[in-house]
């Protein structure tokens, strides 16, 4: 059998392959040869074959059949074999492989080998990829070598110990004695690796950290020597003596000085020295300065030193080298919270970095700029940031837009400025604006009452220019629908009012409906806006026409709206003005609080709150609609329940059954006999009222809404303070029968001039024998102050059989709705 081809020969051959297929063929051929050679247990060429295998492995081909051969090489006496064997082990035999542990014995032997280079190979392999078991087995050997006087081995043992500690943290203690005089070494290799080892130990254990604090003076001394000593050719890098060691010492000092006054003080001088004396013309010096700055910022340094550090970062920002600029921005971002004023001084440089060509630098500069915005610099900063928004890459636009909105909300100097800023964002980055900003903006605009005319005018003009950016178009159509009358009457005070006719406005809105650029949601907005204008404009016929056309739209959403609006025109024209009137000022609350009132006023597209609810909620909403039907009202105003009933599907089925039971005559059927206890309100109410209602209860007397078959439901009232039109009713359900009422569900519907919101019940089991109550909060919005009426539906299971009941509640105390 001829000798297997040499490694370099194989490499040369493979490189001549012109196609992937050709290469694969060569590789397969060679692998076959290697395999048979392995089978023959050929000692002479094993090394060569494994080397070739490693090459092919790097090209991406499988080499697992060489794993055992690597073990054999490691066990061989020849150095060449061991060298390739250990290399193969590091490439092919990581801890996930089954045969990994077989190396342990060989490594143990080699750690005690007479030749230091063999010991070195073993230490290197163990330190790169030894598994936890292997580390446990061999930690003792490593510890022994950590105490040797041979610096070649000692430095390797130190890093090997680091790996052992990472893999088996409990073993850290055993290395402690060996660390005693590590820092007294003169050899830089040992010093460097020792500092790494000490760093690892201090990071992992607060006890170790406390123990090693005493080394601070020694570390300071070593660092000082490095800086002060003259030129040392062996460790010099561009005029700086052993930068690697300097950086490592600085990092260890950082860990030791953190939250410790004494240590921080001990290192103050040296830090100042390094910061001022280090040569900054090359990357090397800057690397040391960077580490110094990080250390100064983390320890308890005096303010002078901190200012020095920030100034270094400021200088970094002006450096030509983009790496340095990047590093400076990253560090400033970390310190901007704690040293805000110092960083503010460099604001203009940071803002300049927004114009940098490098993406990473731009992103950092943007984040930092937003962090630096405050009430004083808002106008200037916003100008720069908006300019940045104009010209930046798409990947930034969403974040930048959000940042602008946040900053504007916090620091807007005036409402007009705020709205102008928002307009600017919408027109320049409109398509990248996040979805939730549309409702937020609408809320903001609604609440800036004096700016309505100005806002709608500007939005209208923007629409004339460009209808492609959906968020802009949505906000604009909503505004036009809402404030179209102001637009047409030319009432704007802030700027020159434009002359616009009703027809022109309708042209624009209809244009949105037909345009290919409009998303489905946008079409919805614009149809609703057109509808709203029917109460604000004089020419209604055109609107009627549009609405009736869309009654047969293919888009189900539009069709539904159009049909409903059509109904408004035809049967319920008397309701139309009330339904479509101006929005009241919205409560400014967190956008995902379930306690927010949902204003729908004719729009079947609910605002933010609903978008955060899971789909099942839409089921109960429809069921509630059905419930409303029974009150003889229309289907326009949905009741948004924030509760998800335990079985929505079945509940829907039951409700739908009701349609069969009752006639839709427009007159509510009289409620079944409900014993409403009248006079002793106060006493009744007091016994089942939750404590916090005490104060409010004095204002509005509680009442019993339902009392039948052992189930009693009491209502207690309070006013929701910010909005006098909202009545907050708490129901208290109690059960006087002998058995618990389980799967208890309370549902309610109100006439269309009201809006109702039902929150989650306290539980769905009403305990027997009045042992407890189930409470649930209802919020009713009653803007027209009409008499409160409510139809309730109760379902529960009692002694295994389901019970359901409908009731009408008419005995609300006058104070609850006046």
């Amino acid at each position: 059998m001829p000798a297997p081809i040499r490694l370099r020969e194989l490499i040369r051959t493979i490189r001549t392959a012109r196609t992937q297929a050709e290469e694969r063929e060569m590789i397969q051929k060679e692998c076959a040869a290697i395999r048979s050679s392995f089978r023959e247990e050929d000692n002479t060429y094993r090394c060569r074959n494994v080397a070739k295998l490693l090459y092919m492995h790097m090209l991406g081909y499988p080499a697992h059949f060489g794993q055992l051969e690597c073990l054999k090489l490691i066990a061989s006496q020849k150095f060449t074999d061991k060298r390739i064997g250990y290399l193969g082990a590091m490439l092919l035999l990581d801890e996930r492989q089954d045969v990994h542990l077989l190396m342990t014995n060989c490594i143990k032997n080699d750690l005690n080998h007479s030749t230091q280079y063999v010991q070195g190979l073993a230490l290197c392999t163990l330190g790169c990829m030894g598994s936890s078991e292997m580390c446990r087995d061999l930690a003792g050997e490593v510890e022994k070598l950590l105490k040797t006087s041979n610096s070649y081995l000692r430095k390797k043992a130190a890093l090997c110990a680091v790996h052992v500690i990472r893999k088996v943290p409990e073993l850290m203690e055993m290395f402690l004695p060996a660390t005693k005089n590590l820092l007294s070494e003169k050899n830089h290799g040992v010093l460097h690796t020792s500092v790494v080892l000490l760093t690892e130990m201090c990071e992992r254990s607060p006890d170790m950290l406390a123990h090693f604090r005493k080394l601070v003076p020694q570390l300071v001394r070593i660092l000082k020597n490095l800086i002060m000593s003259g030129y040392s050719p062996e460790h010099d890098v561009s005029g700086i003596s052993d930068p690697f060691l300097q950086v490592r010492i600085l990092r260890l000092l950082r860990i030791l000085g953190k939250s410790d006054d004494d240590s921080s003080e001990a290192m103050n001088d040296i830090l100042a020295q390094v910061a001022t004396n280090t040569e900054t013309s090359k990357n090397v010096g800057n690397a040391i300065l960077y580490e110094t700055v990080l250390t100064i910022m983390d320890i308890k340094s005096e303010s002078g030193l901190r200012v020095l550090a920030i100034n270094i970062l400021g200088r970094f920002l002006l450096n030509n080298d983009k790496n340095i600029r990047y590093v400076a921005l990253t560090s400033l971002l970390k310190t901007v919270q704690t040293d805000h004023n110092a960083v503010q001084r460099h604001r203009s440089t940071i803002v300049d970095c927004l114009k940098d060509l490098d993406v990473s630098i731009k992103r950092r500069a943007m984040e930092l700029s937003f962090a630096l915005v405050n009430g004083n610099n808002i106008r200037g900063m916003m100008k720069e940031l908006l300019y940045f928004l104009d010209s930046c890459d798409p990947e930034f636009k969403a974040d930048c837009a959000s940042g602008v909105f946040l900053a504007a909300e916090k620091y807007a100097p005036s409402k007009r400025w705020h709205i102008d800023t928002i307009m600017r964002v919408l027109t320049t980055a409109g398509s990248y604006v996040r979805d939730d900003s549309v409702p937020n903006l609408i809320q903001l605009i609604t609440n800036s009452v004096e700016m309505h005319a100005y806002t709608v005018q500007r939005l209208y003009k923007a629409l004339l220019d460009d209808i492609s950016q959906q968020p802009l178009v949505q906000v604009a159509s909503w505004c036009i629908g809402e404030y179209g009358d102001l637009l047409v009457s030319g009432q704007c005070e802030e700027e020159e009012p434009i002359q616009v006719t009703e027809d022109e406005v309708l042209d624009v809105l209809e244009g949105l409906l037909v345009s290919n650029l409009s998303a489905a949601v946008t079409r919805g907005y614009s149809l609703t806006a057109i509808m709203k204008l029917s109460t604000r404009f004089s020419g209604v016929n055109r609107i009627k026409k549009v609405v009736s056309i869309y009654g047969s739209s293919i888009d189900v959403e539009l069709q539904q709206r159009a049909v409903e609006y059509n109904a408004l025109f035809k049967k319920y024209d008397h309701m139309r003005p009330a339904l479509l009137e101006r929005m009241p000022i919205m409560e400014k609350s967190a956008s995902n609080g379930p306690t927010e009132i949902v204003q729908t006023n004719g729009e079947t597209e609910p605002s933010v709150v609903d978008s955060k609810h899971p789909p099942p909620v839409s089921q109960p909403a429809n069921q509630a609609n059905d419930l409303l039907d029974l009150l003889g009202g229309n289907d326009v105003v949905p009741v948004i329940q924030t509760t998800v009933p335990t079985k929505p599907a079945s509940a829907g089925g039951e409700l739908l059954d009701l349609l069969g039971d009752l006639s839709l005559s427009g007159v509510p059927t009289p409620a079944p006999s409900v014993a409403t206890s009248q006079p002793s309100f106060l006493l009744d109410g007091l016994s089942s009222q939750p404590l916090f209602n005490d104060i409010a209860a004095a204002a509005i007397p509680p009442m019993t809404a339902y009392n039948k078959n052992g189930l009693k439901i009491d209502f207690t009232f309070e006013r929701a303070n910010p909005n006098p039109n909202v009545a907050v009713i708490t129901i208290h359900a109690s059960n006087s029968t002998e058995a618990d009422m389980t799967d208890f569900v309370f549902q309610a519907a109100v006439p269309k001039t009201f809006q109702l919101q039902l929150l989650s019940p306290s539980s769905n089991v009403v305990p027997a024998l009045n042992q407890g109550t189930v409470t649930q909060v209802i919020r009713v919005l009653n803007p027209q102050k009409q008499q409160l009426r409510m139809r309730i539906k109760l379902t529960y299971t009692l002694k295994g059989s389901p019970v359901q009941d409908l009731a009408e509640v008419n005995n609300f105390p006058p104070q609850s709705w006046q």
Binding site: R48, M58, I84, G127, E234, N283, N286, R325, D358
Partner: protein, 153 residues
């Protein structure tokens, strides 16, 4: 340091050193993605990028990209110096090193790397000492040829 990769302008891997245990499949995936990301960078961009949850430091020397993945607390600028030191070592060893040297003597490139870094950290900060160690180790190899330019296996 979690790993170091050397690859050509065409994306061919020339050296891979992993200091964290990962499956072959994961290594291949990471390599493929990272190579793509780095090769897509324009020349004027800075040498650092955030990738997954790591910091990546890369530098191009002639036709080879040297790419290191470091952890958050590691100093990017000194990593650039580490890369540079490794290139200097290769250069001294091979005499004006080029990509072909690393292709045909990949095992030596590994030996040199393993004398310079251990577990991802520099074990020796003196160039001279590292080169001396390699020299001595080479002398131990059997058969004992002159180690420069004469293939041993």
């Amino acid at each position: 340091m979690q790993f170091m990769l050397l690859f050509s302008r065409q994306g061919k891997l020339r050296l891979q050193k992993w200091y964290v245990p990962l499956s072959d499949k994961e290594k291949k995936k990471i390599t493929r993605e990272l190579v793509q990301t780095v090769l897509a960078r324009k020349p004027k961009m800075c040498s650092f990028l955030e990738w997954r949850d790591l910091k990546v430091v890369y530098k191009r020397y002639a036709s080879l990209y040297f790419c290191c993945a470091i952890e958050h607390q590691d100093n990017e600028l000194i990593t650039l110096e580490i890369i540079h030191r490794y290139v200097e070592l290769l250069d001294k060893y091979f005499g004006s090193v080029c990509e072909l040297d690393i292709i045909f003597n990949f095992e030596k490139a590994y030996f040199i790397l393993d004398e310079f870094l251990l577990g991802g950290e520099p074990q020796e900060t003196s160039k001279k000492t590292v080169l001396k160690a390699i020299e001595q180790a080479d002398l131990l190899q059997e058969p004992r040829h002159e180690y420069f330019n004469v293939p041993v296996y």
